[in-house]
């Protein structure tokens, strides 16, 4: 079964502290993994995807196929990082529709 698990509903850190938002997935093919973010009163938007292997707003995420994880990390959290973060996967196969399977989301709260 295809599933994305984000074990933490809420992660609260102080400004300047490191952040790691956990994401584990279950998928029997070649998944594409994404992190989407929703800031207060804004629409859901892509933060980063594993294929790009880039750092966005200081965030990085590495796909670990052995551990089936795609944790999101940032070495020094900023107050403007406070938002809801969703991990998502999409399958790439001949029957791929591109639909996203989302985790339940983690609220990141960065305190001053």
């Amino acid at each position: 079964a295809q599933r994305v698990t984000q074990p933490e509903k809420l992660l609260s850190v102080f400004k300047g502290a490191p952040v790691e938002l956990k994401c584990n997935y279950s998928y029997s093919g070649s998944p594409e993994l994404f992190w989407y973010v929703q800031y207060s009163r804004q629409r859901l938007q892509l933060l980063l995807r594993h294929i790009s292997r880039e750092s966005i707003k200081g965030f990085t995420a590495d796909l670990n196929k052995g551990e089936t994880s795609f944790h999101l990390k940032k070495p020094f959290a900023q107050e403007e990082d406070s938002a809801m973060y969703y991990c998502a996967l999409s399958g790439w196969s001949s029957s791929n529709t591109g639909k996203l399977i989302f985790g339940q989301g983690t609220t990141l709260q960065v305190k001053p």
Partner: protein
């Protein structure tokens, strides 16, 4: 350019009534998706359109839910005989699928449906 738009932004209805939710995707995007987010839960996939056809309807929760897309543009999600458990934020997203990879999905602001 303009992003994905949805209307209405909020809809309050009485149990048993029908509702229609509208999505205007980004111009030129051939793929369109509907998702639902119930309170405290993640987004659930409902239906996928490629052009005007819907090859994947696997997420529609019951036959009270239906959707159509016309002119490879606007899509309407219809919920008949609404129930309280239909209360959720309904999100629409669009993208262009190319080369076997999934391009970024661009989301609309959502329609918050409340069934009393």
């Amino acid at each position: 350019g303009a992003g994905v738009s949805q209307s209405p932004s909020n809809k309050v209805t009485e149990k048993g009534k029908d509702v229609e939710l509208r999505c205007d995707p980004i111009s030129g995007h051939t793929a369109l998706y509907w998702y639902r987010q119930r309170l405290g839960q993640g987004l659930e996939f409902l239906i996928y359109f490629q052009g005007n056809s819907a090859p994947d309807k696997s997420g529609l929760p019951s036959d009270r839910f239906s959707a159509e897309r016309t002119g490879e543009s606007v899509s309407t999600l219809t919920i008949q005989r609404t129930q309280q458990e239909d209360s959720a934020v309904y999100l629409c997203a669009s993208n262009s699928i190319s080369g076997g990879f999934t391009d970024t999905q661009y989301f609309g602001p959502g329609t918050r449906l409340t069934v009393l």
